[in-house]
């Protein structure tokens, strides 16, 4: 019965003050909504182990992640095979490598089309725990030399490319112009290991090499339930020592960093390149959301505390009437339960909306390259609901118990005797100070991190990469190996290379003859994309130590490529026929290299060579200097300032990026590329066709998406901080009203009182901001490992945000203090 009365009373209080109720519920909804969203995001992308149909989690076994080049390092299947024999934490292992498959040959009227392919060991689907819905799995016999070539296709490829024909199994299809038999169709939405659309077998000699080889693959295994990744890594560490000791010298390059790490196990989702590259940003998001939850808790706790102060006399009367303290606590908890329950419902709606938006952003992000990892689809699952439930409990306890403690720790006798609360107790005063400092500290960290990420992402998005991107489309061209294979180290190598380059130059000529095409460029990675650097040394200026030589990004380009991307030669000459001959070893460097590393900025005529850690490398002659451009995203630490360019003719490429400067519409330009390509050689595929702007934005899309979440967090943090600091300050000052009355009775002037509050506020600001900036710097240091933070971002983050907080705090102090100062001292002395 008493519960019924308490519930009714709590409900009545909510209705009685709708503005208060709405504010409190809003803050709770923001705190819980962001928590639910961030948990769903991070558990889907990173933390929730990938198990797929079993209770054993997947792990990857591969080389150490190369942060400077931002790529996952494959390892020798020879070592993977050996390792699996020596470790106990896994039963079996399969390997795979990424690739593409150009499908053609069936009468589907769609021509040659590129799909993402996974080259795998025959036991791949066994380890994955998934069998085809039609046809059969790979068998070991498929891997034997001379066996018929087979391909497994995804449900989506079957439906879209093969129009869902019922007798697809056993059909023959050309894969990179080589006939293969379709042996099965995998279930809908299955794209393991990440975004595979087709699965092909690795050649037998790559799967089972009998000695260390140059082959590379990524291992996937299921971890035994009785084991852990740490245990597996311990076992692999023992194996690594042995493998490294026995590694022939010619394979020393596998230990590029000499860190002693060769094979290492990583939780499957964490091994994803995007996650690895931006891990610190994800963790920052987690930190920021947790801080916002804390801010929300403090704000709501403080709002309820204010309410308790308003109801202090009523509580004192209840205590005087003999209400057990336990009952009073429950009354306040009921109020919190109502707030949190309504807030949680709104939080669920908000989080669902956020998840929908994020899923849409992911779809856009991966649309061109169709490389969305299959687990990058967010949903609110049972785990997330459990987290929401725990967060609600946490919030109920914080928001219910703090006011209850405050309410029950007062001097009810004095309240009832003289009708006032008495001067504010020392403990209550300290509690308020801690609350204000906490608000300042938390909001400082959230705002600094959010602002730095936002501004960095904004400036990166607006960065000048040194190229013209307007009216340019880009695409990736891929030559089928059946027609464009290069027989290395044979007498045919030069002719094979020439055949490839002839195709590229023929396509360029045909395109440039068209009135709608201005110019065509070929580049291995176009400016604004790509990453990775290598050391190089200048003849006569060699550094004593390998690591002290400068580093540059290296690209292979076609002749006459600069004008298509708006770059230009500023010294020397462009590549021409002289550079196409074997042994010419010509190169062009960019303006920064010339200006900063050569006497008087004159680089032409010098010799330079890329060197390995063993000091090897061929000398090359600088024939020209080209205007600066930037490779890699402007946010990425691997973005290169120094660039070196090498002529495509001397080293042919099976695939290369093309940039086309066009007139007219983008759609027309894309069609022109298709038509001209088909007319030149219909077997060559062009994919990832997009505008140059889209190409540049692509590496930034994940960060841009996460930045939008940070923007939301930042705005919420400002709102929470402003309202929270105001509420805490106002509450603190209100509680000090009687003290102010005393001070004024003793002769304090308005300015004495204002000075008192403002100096207290400044002390709180100094502590809160001091700690906040130190902690923010710590987080920023972690962020700097993966992104370049520009100076403007630092200024906005570390100066602008603290100034904003100072303004908020001073205003939040000034307004309520002014109100108290304007009271008559007699009124203040008897303030209830």
């Amino acid at each position: 019965m008493s519960i019924g009365i308490d519930v009714k009373y709590a409900a009545r209080l909510l209705v009685k003050k709708p503005a208060f109720t709405a504010t409190t519920v809003f803050i709770i909804a923001i705190g819980l909504g962001l928590t639910l969203f961030a948990y769903s995001l991070l558990s889907s992308l990173i933390f929730k182990p990938l198990t797929m149909n079993t209770n054993q989690q997947f792990v990857t076994i591969e080389g150490e992640y190369d942060y400077s080049h931002a790529f996952r390092r494959s390892v020798d299947p020879f070592h993977l095979n050996q390792a699996v024999q020596e470790v106990d934490a896994i039963d079996d292992i399969t390997f795979h490598g990424p690739g593409t498959a150009l499908l053609s040959g069936l009468d589907t009227n769609v021509g040659t089309k590129k799909f993402n392919a996974t080259f795998a060991k025959w036991n791949f689907f066994d380890v994955a725990g998934q069998q085809p819905i039609m046809g059969r799995d790979f068998t070991e016999a498929d891997n034997f030399d001379g066996a018929e070539k087979v391909i497994m296709i995804s449900y989506e490829v079957w439906q879209s490319y093969f129009k869902g024909i019922s007798d697809i199994v056993d059909k023959m299809v050309n894969v990179d112009s080589e006939p293969m038999r379709i042996i099965g169709v995998m279930p809908e939405n299955f794209s393991f290991p990440s975004h595979a659309q087709t699965w092909l077998l690795m050649p037998a000699n790559q799967i089972n090499p009998t000695k260390p080889s140059r082959n590379g693959a990524f291992g996937i295994a299921r971890l035994k339930n009785s084991s852990s990744i740490e245990k597996l890594n311990q076992e692999l560490s023992h194996y690594n020592q042995k493998a490294i000791a026995e590694l022939p010298e010619e394979f020393n390059w596998r230990m590029r960093n000499n860190s002693g790490i060769y094979l290492q196990a990583t939780a499957y989702k964490k091994a994803n390149s995007d996650v690895r590259e931006y891990y610190s940003i994800f963790i920052s998001l987690l930190v920021v959301v947790f801080l916002i939850l804390l801010l929300a808790c403090i704000n709501v706790g403080n709002l309820l505390l204010t309410r308790v102060n308003e109801r202090y006399k009523e509580i004192a009367i209840r205590v005087a009437l003999g209400v057990p303290r336990q009952r009073l606590i429950f009354q306040m908890l009921w109020e919190s339960i109502f707030f949190c329950a309504i807030g949680a419902f709104i939080a669920f709606v908000l989080a669902s909306w956020g998840i929908e938006l994020t899923n849409a952003a992911f779809t856009r992000m991966f649309a061109v390259q169709q490389n969305q990892p299959f687990w990058w689809t967010l949903s609110i699952d049972a785990d997330a609901l459990l987290v929401l439930f725990v967060a609600i409990l946490f919030m109920i306890l914080i928001t219910g118990l703090i006011p209850a403690w405050r309410a029950l720790s007062g001097d009810f006798n004095s309240v009832l005797r003289d009708g006032t609360r008495g001067a504010m107790g020392k403990k209550a005063s300290q509690t308020n100070q801690v609350l204000v400092i906490s608000e300042i500290l938390l909001s400082c960290i959230v705002l600094v991190i959010a602002t730095i990420l936002l501004t960095t992402s904004y400036f990166a998005d607006k960065a000048d990469y040194g190229v013209d991107t307007d009216k340019r489309i880009t695409a990736r061209l891929e030559l089928p190996l059946e027609y464009y294979n290069v027989r290395r180290d044979t007498e045919f190598e030069a002719a094979d290379n020439k055949k490839r380059n002839d195709f590229y130059y023929q396509l360029k000529s045909r395109l440039e003859e068209l009135p709608t095409i201005e110019a065509v460029a070929y580049m291995t990675q176009l400016p604004g994309t790509g990453e990775g650097t290598s050391h190089f040394e200048i003849e006569g200026m060699e550094a004593e130590v390998y690591d002290e030589n400068p580093v540059s990004n290296n690209e292979v380009i076609g002749r006459d490529s600069w004008r298509a991307v708006g770059m230009h030669i500023i010294q020397g000459r462009d590549f021409d026929d002289r550079d196409a001959v074997v042994g010419a070893n010509s190169m062009i460097v960019n303006e920064s290299i010339a200006r900063e590393l050569f006497p008087d900025g004159q680089a032409v005529g010098y010799r330079v060579r890329q060197i390995s850690s063993r000091g090897e490398g061929d000398w090359q002659n600088i024939v020209g200097v080209v205007s600066d451009s930037y490779h890699g995203s402007a946010m990425d630490t691997s973005s290169a300032q120094y660039n070196s360019y090498h002529l495509m003719d001397a080293r042919s490429r099976q695939s290369i990026n093309i940039a086309i400067h066009y007139k007219g519409s983008e759609l027309q330009a894309k069609q022109t590329l298709f038509d001209t390509l088909n007319a030149t050689d219909a077997n060559v595929a062009a994919y990832h066709i997009q505008s140059y702007q889209q190409l540049i934005q692509h590496p930034m899309m994940l960060v841009t998406t996460v930045s939008k979440i940070f923007l939301f967090c930042g705005v919420m943090a400002v709102l929470l901080a402003a309202s929270g600091i105001y509420a805490v300050s106002a509450n603190s000052i209100t509680q000090k009203t009687q003290e102010i009355g005393v001070r004024r009775a003793l002769g304090a002037t308005d300015s004495n009182v204002m000075k008192l509050f403002l100096s207290q506020a400044l002390i709180q600001l100094a502590i809160g901001l001091g700690l906040g900036i130190v902690l923010s710097m710590w987080v920023i240091k972690a962020l700097q490992t993966t992104m370049i933070i520009n100076d403007v971002s630092y200024i906005i983050g570390l100066v602008g945000m603290p100034l904003l907080i100072i303004a908020i705090v001073l205003l939040a102090t000034f307004i309520p203090a002014k109100k108290v100062v304007e009271m008559e001292p007699s009124e203040a002395l008897h303030h209830d």
């Binding site: 020392k426 009775a745 002769g747 001292p825």
Partner: protein, 243 residues
């Protein structure tokens, strides 16, 4: 005593003071046509039932509130229409307050509480302030607790500290609002003895009290009823009432 001497001796002069409160659109006349003068060195008790307006009268005397109309002269100066900060300065230099609930600031030590009104003055050095604090605390026999916080003191001790605070700035008048209201009889007697001593040393004291024994120690008793002074008589039989 000549008229001029009488006029020079008047410290407080109220003429036709009215005070009205507006609560929920209801007008309450707290004080109605009050005329009162208090001489220097006088020990005055204001008595009357609860809600009669005696605390409001004390607030007006202490410049803690302003009258709706009427004239108030303190030490010959009209203080009826001063600005907030001017009133604060006069409170600081001319008036010492003693409250029923002590109103010590819990964050400050005993010495800091006593020093508080002195810190609002610009004419005192730190050493002078410290000396005044020491003298005031010795006057109430609390110098040994100078570094304690209010929460470490008994009610009686807190009120003695409050008296020290009231006298530290050597005010012209001490206004005491039920100074023994929150104290047991023993502590009440101690406090009243201190007030007696202060008066004996020449202090002007104006005390609001319910307690007839406290009122009996004053030399003049004013009775307020429904916002009006209904009785104003000298107490010819001032006696120290032993407990």
């Amino acid at each position: 005593m000549s008229e001029q001497t009488k006029a020079n001796n008047v410290l407080v002069e109220l003429k036709n003071i009215n005070k009205m409160f507006l609560t929920d659109e209801v007008e309450t006349h707290a004080l109605n046509g009050i005329n009162l003068s208090i001489n220097k060195g006088e020990y005055l008790a204001i008595t009357g039932p609860s809600g009669c307006g005696k605390s409001t009268l004390l607030s007006l005397l202490g410049l803690l509130d302003t009258a709706n109309d009427g004239m108030y002269k303190l030490a010959g100066h009209d203080v009826s229409s001063l600005k907030r900060d001017e009133r604060a300065k006069i409170r600081n230099s001319e008036i010492g307050f003693i409250f029923q609930s002590f109103n010590l600031i819990s964050d400050l030590t005993v010495a800091e509480n006593v020093e508080l009104p002195l810190t609002y003055r610009k004419d005192l050095t730190k050493q002078q302030r410290a000396k005044n604090v020491q003298v005031a605390l010795e006057e109430v026999d609390m110098a040994h607790r100078a570094k304690h916080f209010p929460s470490q003191l008994s009610g009686g001790q807190q009120q003695r500290v409050a008296i020290a605070r009231a006298i530290a700035g050597s005010p012209s008048v001490i206004l005491a609002d039920e100074p023994t209201g929150n104290l047991d009889s023993k502590n009440a007697e101690t406090v009243m003895s201190i007030l007696d001593k202060l008066h004996a040393n020449g202090a002007t004291i104006c005390m609001v009290t319910h307690d007839p024994r406290s009122a009996a120690r004053s030399e003049r008793i004013i009775e307020v009823f429904d916002g009006k002074i209904v009785s104003d008589q000298f107490n010819n039989d001032v006696t120290a009432i032993a407990v």
